[in-house]
């Protein structure tokens, strides 16, 4: 007897795009199953340990590509579990960007004003703190003081961190042991579960095919819980609606692999990938100058020497987020923390070397490092090649490290923007002998991003966007994409807030499509904690989004 498992809505991935969709659809009455390729860890499982096999290597992935490597979440909760929780809204000019297609790349229906009510819904659902100067880490304070010393402003960054329980351990990338970081494990996901949604970890979706009744069949493999190179069997689930939210480095790969079964994919699937224009610089501070020039003191004679202390990014310089500046010259410069391991290999010593005696001397100054994160406007240069055998990479190590199929050759626009931002970091931090600053090398693993975007993006033009402005895959009704893939391009700020707001905005259209397909579901759930002001604020936008 052939028993086929069926659900109304199948969600691929449990990060922002997946969790938000699963919550609203389950709360509205749909039967929802979420498949997650990574493991399911909770706060007690999050370790402070760099050893391979600890939570640090189990829950995130480093996928090396040709010219671009991508860091992303690999666990229930996705990026929200491993990210640094910076949650700024994107500046107004971003929505007017033209980018490589030389005409507005965002759908006409979306600008900052029309997205603000959806940002508000996210802000009500994921507690976001506007950090005060008392919350700002030494590293953030140093960056602020250096910005001021060079005539610039600096802003504490809004973050999904409960500062009353945060211990400033800087282990955010290994998951928050103290439930200070407001990951999806604390809001949308438990609310989805409470409404009957199911989460199945270690289920890696490979492809989608059609069923005879006009629905879809989702094909997955079971991943071994310790050695992700191994799989243990496979299965399928049939669904009326499929929501892809596997992350911008994986969602397009699933669609590419599904092409033989589903038919041609829109041109934009696996193209127009953006690394959010990211690049890192390392400053090694002169501790005496920190005291003498900036007047900073930690006590015990220390000026700074606090690289290890904090909660990721706490302060950003936003002076270049100026709509009057030309595209490719607008960017933010954000203080960041990056742990050892992946966080040191690409840093260049003063003599330009990434290994050897000078590099070792630089590592000995590690506590005096300050990492500055640039987010420029890139040119959506990334293209995915044919998919690997399974997943989105050929896994090298048992966890964390694989080789994917993304190719990224930065254009002159991108290279020039990085050079401009590099020069500004140098100007700010080398002034009066404060520090020596070097950019991370792109020669070893290419550029790298922790915020992959746009590989399956929304837009009005079918030739340059895989999704319509309701996030439905063109030519494949009933398949939606709600993760970072859908964001049209670089945002010049951390993207989680915008990914989440777009996912919130996509829900009414998905509910309408589900209803068309016979699913008994309604739209209108409050925030996961029952708050309703966000729902009220967006209510006037819902009828248009539900009209198909």
């Amino acid at each position: 007897m052939n028993s086929v498992e069926r659900t109304d809505v199948l969600v691929v991935g449990t990060g922002f795009g997946g969790a938000i969709a699963a919550y609203h659809l389950a709360a509205g009455g749909a039967k929802v199953v979420m498949l997650e390729r990574g493991p399911w860890l909770t706060s007690g499982d999050f370790e402070h340990d760099y050893k391979l096999g600890s939570s640090y290597t189990r829950i995130f992935d480093f996928v090396v590509g040709d010219g671009m490597s991508v860091l992303g979440g690999n666990c229930v909760g996705g990026g929200s579990v491993v990210y640094f929780a910076a949650m700024p809204r994107a500046p107004r000019f971003v929505f007017e960007r033209r980018g490589s297609i030389r005409r507005r790349m965002w759908p006409r229906a979306i600008d900052r004003d029309s997205l603000d009510p959806w940002y508000d819904r996210v802000e009500e659902s994921i507690p976001i703190t506007q950090q005060g100067w008392d919350d700002v880490s030494y590293a953030g304070g140093l960056w602020a003081a250096a910005c001021r010393h060079s005539g610039r402003t600096a802003n504490p960054v809004p973050a999904a961190v409960d500062t009353s329980t945060c211990v400033n351990c800087n282990w955010m990338m290994a998951g928050c042991r103290f439930d200070a970081k407001q990951s999806l494990l604390l809001n949308y996901l438990p609310a989805a579960l409470a409404h009957g949604a199911e989460i199945r970890p270690l289920h890696e979706v490979q492809s989608i095919s059609r069923t005879d009744d006009g629905g879809y069949r989702v094909h997955y493999a079971h991943v071994h819980d310790e050695d992700y190179r191994l799989t243990e069997g496979a299965g399928t689930i049939d669904a009326k609606i499929v929501i892809l939210a596997a992350g911008a480095a994986a969602t397009p790969v699933i669609l590419q692999r599904s092409e033989p079964a589903l038919g041609p994919m829109p041109h934009g699937v696996g193209r127009y990938f953006s690394g959010n224009g990211e690049r890192l610089n390392t400053a090694v501070l002169n501790e005496d100058r920190v005291r003498d020039v900036l007047g900073l003191e930690r006590g015990d004679g220390l000026g700074y020497a606090a690289n290890q202390i904090g909660k990721g990014p706490t302060v950003a310089n936003w002076d270049r987020l100026d709509a009057s500046l030309p595209e490719y010259s607008r960017y933010s410069l954000e203080q960041l923390y990056f742990p050892p391991g992946l966080g040191t290999i690409l840093a260049l010593a003063e003599d330009g070397s990434w290994f050897g005696p000078r590099k070792k001397e630089m590592l000995e100054r590690w506590q005096s490092w300050l990492i500055i994160f640039q987010m420029i406007e890139d040119d959506n240069e990334g293209v995915f090649g044919p998919p690997p055998q399974r997943g989105n990479s050929d896994r090298l190590s048992q966890q964390m490290l694989g080789v994917g199929r993304l190719t990224y050759k930065p254009t002159a626009n991108t290279v020039a923007a990085w050079a401009m931002a590099d020069a500004e970091c140098k100007e700010i931090l080398e002034r009066d002998g404060l520090a020596t600053v070097t950019p991370w090398t792109n020669d070893l693993v290419g550029a790298y991003t922790v915020h992959p975007l746009a590989s399956c993006r929304i837009g009005d033009d079918p030739h340059t966007s895989a999704l319509d402005d309701r996030h439905e895959v063109r030519g494949h009704p009933g398949i939606f994409v709600t993760d970072g893939s859908a964001v049209p391009g670089a945002l010049t700020v951390n993207p989680a807030m915008t990914i989440s707001a777009l996912a919130e905005r996509a829900i009414p259209g998905i509910v309408a499509a589900a209803r068309e397909r016979g699913v008994d579901v309604t739209y209108g759930a409050p925030a996961p904690d029952g708050s309703t002001s966000g729902r009220r604020g967006a209510a006037h936008l819902v009828p248009d989004l539900m009209r198909r």
């Binding site: 402070h48 700024p88 809004p158 391991g341 590592l363 020669d443």
Partner: protein, 189 residues
């Protein structure tokens, strides 16, 4: 299949140690230490446990270590021939090279466009990780045992329960003016 001679394994280890020592150099462990070039004070990647990490199959590199060592020695022999450098008898060619020449070989193998670049970068990545994160050891235990990399970097010890908490984290005062176009909730306008 021919069984491997014991000295092949020793040569492999010595060659990989010399590679690791090129990435993060250290001081010689004993008089006559050939693998460690001795161009730096204190422990380097070798003392930090690079070979233990590489020989742990969790890295995904373990099965290829024979090939890495053999290839590295082939490249080193070609480099030595090209530069007229004499090899020491019974010493693997890469190990025979002085530090600066080892570094030149590594730079060449990891340069953009080299067909084997990805392999050598991954080997270097794990050598670096042995030093800067002791990825083969529990971090708290590595620190307690005086791991050379974590110690040299000044990484502090955790609380007795193995978790880090910092009681002081902030200068605690405004250190810049915020951007004039900031929304009430702290975002760019």
């Amino acid at each position: 299949m021919a069984s491997r001679k014991p000295d092949d394994h020793q040569d492999r280890t010595t060659t990989l140690e010399a590679f690791a020592d090129t990435i993060i150099p250290g001081e010689k462990r004993y008089a006559g230490d050939l693998a460690v070039a001795g161009v730096s004070r204190g422990g380097g990647a070798v003392q930090a446990g690079a070979i233990e990490l590489l020989e742990w199959d969790a890295t995904g590199l373990t099965g290829g270590l024979d090939d890495f060592a053999a290839a590295l020695n082939r490249h080193a022999a070609a480099y030595a021939a090209e530069h007229g450098l004499a090899a020491e008898d019974g010493v693997p060619p890469f190990v025979s090279l002085p530090y600066d020449d080892r570094a030149a070989v590594v730079r060449w193998l990891t340069a953009p466009g080299h067909p084997e670049k990805a392999l050598w970068v991954s080997l270097a990545l794990f050598c670096n990780m042995a030093y800067d994160s002791a990825a083969h050891l529990s971090t708290a235990e590595a620190l307690a045992a005086g791991h050379p990399g974590l110690t040299a970097m000044g990484i502090t010890r955790p609380d007795p329960d193995g978790l880090w908490r910092f009681r002081a984290w902030s200068y605690g005062r405004p250190l810049a003016d915020v951007h004039p176009a900031t929304t009430p909730s702290g975002s760019p306008a």
